[in-house]
């Protein structure tokens, strides 16, 4: 059986190179893989494209990636929250590119990538600025916009429990984008609170089967949103 368990944080993330596209889980702070992000910060990579819902909170997590100059472009749905002041400063200074995508479209574009689809027609954003330049189509009398799949070189996600095959379950609203992103990247790296023995996860409740997981790293429980330096 393939060993997917990384012994160190560096082992978990070191294959990420400059210029890579990273799908990063989380909505608000739950489900953000803060430990993996700290690991990427320590690698001092540059020009990363980050796909994630929010533009960071305070100085920790994704905000730390921005602050340390690792990111060239952000794809997200909700950039202008008051807690995302680090991103705003960089954006206003012209140091970072931004693509805004409606939240459901962002999720479905990644789902399409993971499911091997070439795109989909959605009613979201019809007639709005965010549909400009995109193909539209009327199907059964209703208008739709064509959206393309969104794939990552890597997915960085957070889960609650993992077994040796990489099967995952999540915790409450920490689930959010994580299962979708796990499917949509060439290489999926998971930070996970705890690992359990084979057969301890009920196959009926597994959310992400291990087939979508390449590497996992055990973090233990931690309080989310705290500023901390990586190991």
């Amino acid at each position: 059986m393939k060993n997917k368990k990384a012994k160190t944080l560096e082992d978990a993330v070191s294959r990420i190179q400059d210029g890579a596209t990273l799908l990063v889980g989380g909505f608000g702070q739950p489900g953000v893989p803060e430990v993996l992000i700290d690991g990427v910060c320590d690698l001092k990579r540059r020009d990363l494209t980050i796909v994630t819902n929010n533009a960071g909170t305070g100085h920790s997590g994704i905000a730390r990636l921005f602050e340390e100059g690792c990111v060239g472009k952000l794809v997200c749905s909700f950039p202008w929250a008051k807690e995302s002041f680090v991103f705003k400063e960089l954006y206003d200074a012209g140091k970072i590119e931004l693509e805004i995508v409606p939240q459901g479209t962002m999720a479905e574009r990644m789902r399409a990538a993971g499911a091997g689809l070439g795109g989909f027609y959605t009613p979201t954003a019809v007639g709005t600025d965010l549909a400009e330049g995109k193909e539209t189509k009327t199907i059964d009398g209703k208008d739709y916009v064509l959206e393309m799949p969104l794939r990552g070189d890597f997915a960085l996600i957070k889960a609650y429990k993992v077994d040796p095959r990489g099967n995952l379950i999540y915790r409450k609203t920490g689930r959010n984008f994580n299962p979708i992103m796990a499917m949509a990247a060439d290489h999926t790296i998971v930070e996970v609170e705890a690992d359990v023995a084979m057969d301890e996860l009920d196959p009926e409740v597994i959310v992400t089967p291990g087939v979508f997981v390449d590497t996992y790293y055990i973090t233990g429980w931690y309080e989310i949103g705290k500023e901390r330096n990586a190991s």
């Binding site: 909505f27 805004i100 409606p102 459901g104 600025d129 609203t173």
Partner: protein
């Protein structure tokens, strides 16, 4: 503070009025801000479930002291609880619920609503970008969209208009408008003034509305003492 003197409803009173329209058995999505005050006013005995776009069906009130869970938040990123019979879903399923027509109602804030039901709530005209979040998906997919807002801007300009001037969120979707002055229905014939706040006349509401109001049977908003 001055709301009583000016006959404008408070935020709580607007939420209480909107809550009366939440029907038994509905699944409802609430936008950030004023709409999140609605659950406290749902009439007793009505089974209304709340959907939060971040993958929570069955959102409950804020947690009691000491019972907060860092992994359980609302779309507005506030700590919340969950009610019995709820479920967690991932983001693609959460938005399948919205686009797939499973939301009976979405109550959203608005910068501007046009007489044809156009909803504008994601970006100001002078901004180059906004925080769209899930607004476009939810507004495009919900069976009904209720707009909940102050009747005018702080400067007194109309937010209910004949044709929109703000960037569009979703076209022709708003079915009812709840403000601090009135309840207005969006119909194929135009905007119908259903109710006005106590102490206000229909003409006073029309004077600060940028589109003609149909005034056949105007009632008064019931406000709890």
């Amino acid at each position: 503070m001055s709301d009583e003197q000016t006959n404008l409803l408070t935020r709580q009173q607007i939420a209480a009025r909107a809550a009366q329209d939440m029907e038994d058995g509905w699944l409802v999505n609430l936008g950030i801000g004023m709409p999140t005050m609605i659950p406290a006013f749902i009439p007793k005995g009505r089974d209304v479930m709340f959907h939060s776009e971040n993958g929570l069906i069955g959102m409950g009130p804020p947690p009691a002291e000491g019972e907060a869970d860092q992994d359980l938040i609302s779309a507005g990123k506030e700590l919340v609880t969950m009610v019995s019979g709820g479920a967690f879903v991932h983001h693609a399923d959460s938005f399948a619920i919205a686009r797939g027509g499973r939301l009976d109602c979405a109550v959203l804030g608005a910068f501007e609503v046009a007489a044809n039901g156009d909803l504008c709530n994601w970006r100001l005209p002078n901004q180059t970008s906004g925080s769209v979040g899930g607004a476009m998906d939810i507004a495009a997919g919900s069976k009904r969209v209720f707009a909940m807002m102050t009747h005018t801007t702080r400067d007194g300009a109309a937010k209910i208009v004949a044709e929109r001037t703000y960037p569009l969120t979703a076209g022709g979707v708003v079915t009812r408008i709840f403000t601090n002055m009135a309840v207005i229905s969006v119909t194929p014939d135009g905007l119908v003034l259903d109710e006005v706040a106590p102490g206000l006349s229909a003409d006073e509401v029309q004077a600060v509305t940028g589109a003609p109001l149909i005034m056949n049977a105007v009632g008064e908003i019931a406000v709890a003492a």
